[in-house]
Assembly symmetry: C2
Homo-oligomer: 362 residues x 2
């Protein structure tokens, strides 16, 4: 199990990851909700610095109090590093004993900068653990048929154990057709309906667990958070995070409620949960008052918000108002440095699993 960072380390981590100051100390007038000013959750400090990440709509308290987090920080960056080291060690042994290494193929279509960055990061991560990466970069105006031909070739190539098609695809292509063409044994993203069906069913095993929700559960496991019999709320029901996260929690015997845009009184429902996973893409939507004291919060959201103090003019925040929630929760993931780094670690893990299955090394 990875060790938890202190709250000081957390802020340090955040500062290192996004290049902006994340030290959240409060000037006057300070924004503190009444519910957050409970003495049980507050410590005071004389440091009074600029507020960077305050959540809006709070009631104003005229004090130069500085509130500090009580929650253990679930350090996804450190945990992902540990997992990558474990994977690297396993691949090294695999190479030694069988002469093979896992292979991951990525297909990139078009010139989107963000997509190119994601693909480069995946390639780098593969290299760092000993996974051989294969890349095909096609022009924006290439045909769907060309993409399908490359998928078919990777499907047939025994050295390729996982295939990723970087999304979004150009609008003239049928995304479902293309994703459906990836052989189920190499669909390391785990988004195929067949795989999701197996995830939902009690006596079936998915071939791959989708990377981001797998990363959330892995964090809970590595931080020793009990899941069985606990109330869990998943906020958001997307195919790639919320829905599979709810199925995973249920597989681990949590009592799961999925909160979504049509839910009435999401605050009261969320406040009943021992474990909260948020994946909605709404900066700071989940306030401290939504969190049950002592709950564990996994924040999947990565939302850019304007911040002129950052060289790039924005910084990244989660779906959860960290400053408030970290005073109520017993453990929480920061953004960045929480779930984000876990996603790519889980992709490497899925690729390794695919290779072990393919080479009968399980």
């Amino acid at each position: 199990m990875a060790s938890a960072s202190s709250s000081a380390a957390m802020f340090g981590t955040a500062a290192a990851s996004d290049g902006c100051s994340r030290r959240v100390f409060i000037t006057t007038p300070v924004q503190v909700r009444a519910s957050r000013s409970s003495p049980a959750f507050l410590r005071t400090s004389s440091r009074a610095i600029k507020t960077y990440a305050s959540c809006s709509n709070s009631s104003v308290v005229n004090a130069a109090l500085v509130t500090e987090a009580f929650a253990k920080v679930i350090d996804g960056k450190a945990t992902a590093k540990t997992i990558r080291e474990e994977i690297a060690a396993e691949i090294s042994k695999m190479k030694e004993s069988s002469g093979v290494v896992p292979g991951l193929a990525v297909i990139l279509v078009g010139e989107r900068k963000d997509s190119a960055t994601y693909v480069r990061n995946k390639k780098k991560a593969c290299e760092s653990v000993g996974i051989k990466s294969y890349e095909v970069h096609l022009a924006e105006d290439c045909s769907e048929q060309e993409v399908l031909q490359h998928i078919s070739a990777f499907n047939d190539d025994p050295a390729v154990n996982g295939i990723l098609v970087q999304l979004p695809l150009p609008s003239h292509m049928n995304e479902q057709n293309i994703l459906n063409a990836v052989c189920i044994d190499k669909d390391v993203d785990g988004f195929s309906p067949l795989n999701i069906g197996r995830l939902a069913m009690r006596d079936r095993e998915p071939l791959f667990v989708p990377c981001t929700p797998k990363g959330c559960i892995e964090l809970l496991h590595r931080y020793g958070v009990p899941i069985k019999g606990k109330r869990a709320v998943v906020i958001g029901r997307s195919n790639i995070v919320g829905m599979p996260a709810s199925l995973l929690l249920q597989r681990e015997d949590a009592t799961v409620t999925v909160v979504h845009s049509r839910t009435k009184n999401p605050e009261a429902i969320t406040r009943e949960a021992d474990i909260v996973i948020t994946a909605v893409g709404q900066p700071n939507m989940v306030r401290g008052s939504w969190i049950k004291p002592g709950a564990v919060v996994i924040d999947v959201g990565i939302n850019p918000v304007e911040d002129t103090s950052c060289s790039r003019g924005y910084r990244l925040v989660g779906d959860v108002c960290y400053e408030e929630a970290s005073k109520i929760a017993s453990a929480i993931t920061p953004v960045p440095g929480g779930v984000g780094p876990m996603t790519i670690a889980m992709l490497l893990s899925n690729t390794l699993s695919a290779a072990k299955r393919s080479y009968n090394l399980e």
Copy 2:
């Protein structure tokens, strides 16, 4: 929309279905929980007859009160009849305009009496609406290969639109292998992982919705029960009822919690629900105190309990203590005569859908 029966009609229906007296009136000492004796939910009557279906573990009230249900009875028997008539009319038109009718094949292996009864009932139901039924009855000791050959023949037969393999299969056969052999377009049970995956995913459509949960939702629709934005609790997480029911409710924008054997305090969680669907197979497990006043209760359980007043020595009860819940809920399905008859109606509906798809008649 089917009309609701009166509570008198409800008891009449029950009596007609299982051949036992279901008039639940109470002698002394009578079992009434304090929470149930609220004047708001009680009416008195001078009829004092034997208690047949009392739920255990209640506190005892020394009175010869007779409590009558306030809940509207969701009459599955009448609704299923209406649906079968609608299906029959559609098939009649189909035959007239295209010269084709849907076909359903059932494969029965072995000599289990209950399985034979189920198959006979399905065949009768098919005949009553104009679906042509095909039956293969194989010996208990036949090989898995033989079953697979019959499935393959039905897969290839364009006159067969749906294929059912009656479960359980003899223990020497691999059930998953056999079920996986049924072509997805003819899997009218809707239990294949690919189909369940599509049910779970927001932008996908399942080819078939599993019959029993589909019947539950159909009852809610036909009785005008709003689902969007409502709190729903599904008790039980089986692959064939609880899990797909929870996915269906979520597709209709309910906020769904799945309660199961590891759930702590299921009573309090269930009491928050506007809609409760139970599928656990525990007679009378859900008490009146579990139900939020005004909630709608769909009881999938069909449990035999000893009753010497019945000629066969037992009668059927649901997972819900009907006598208690019907005084709290605004609407409730009886057992028998609730969800049961809907399952076979939905099988006919799925077979019709398969035929329409196959003949491009949608």
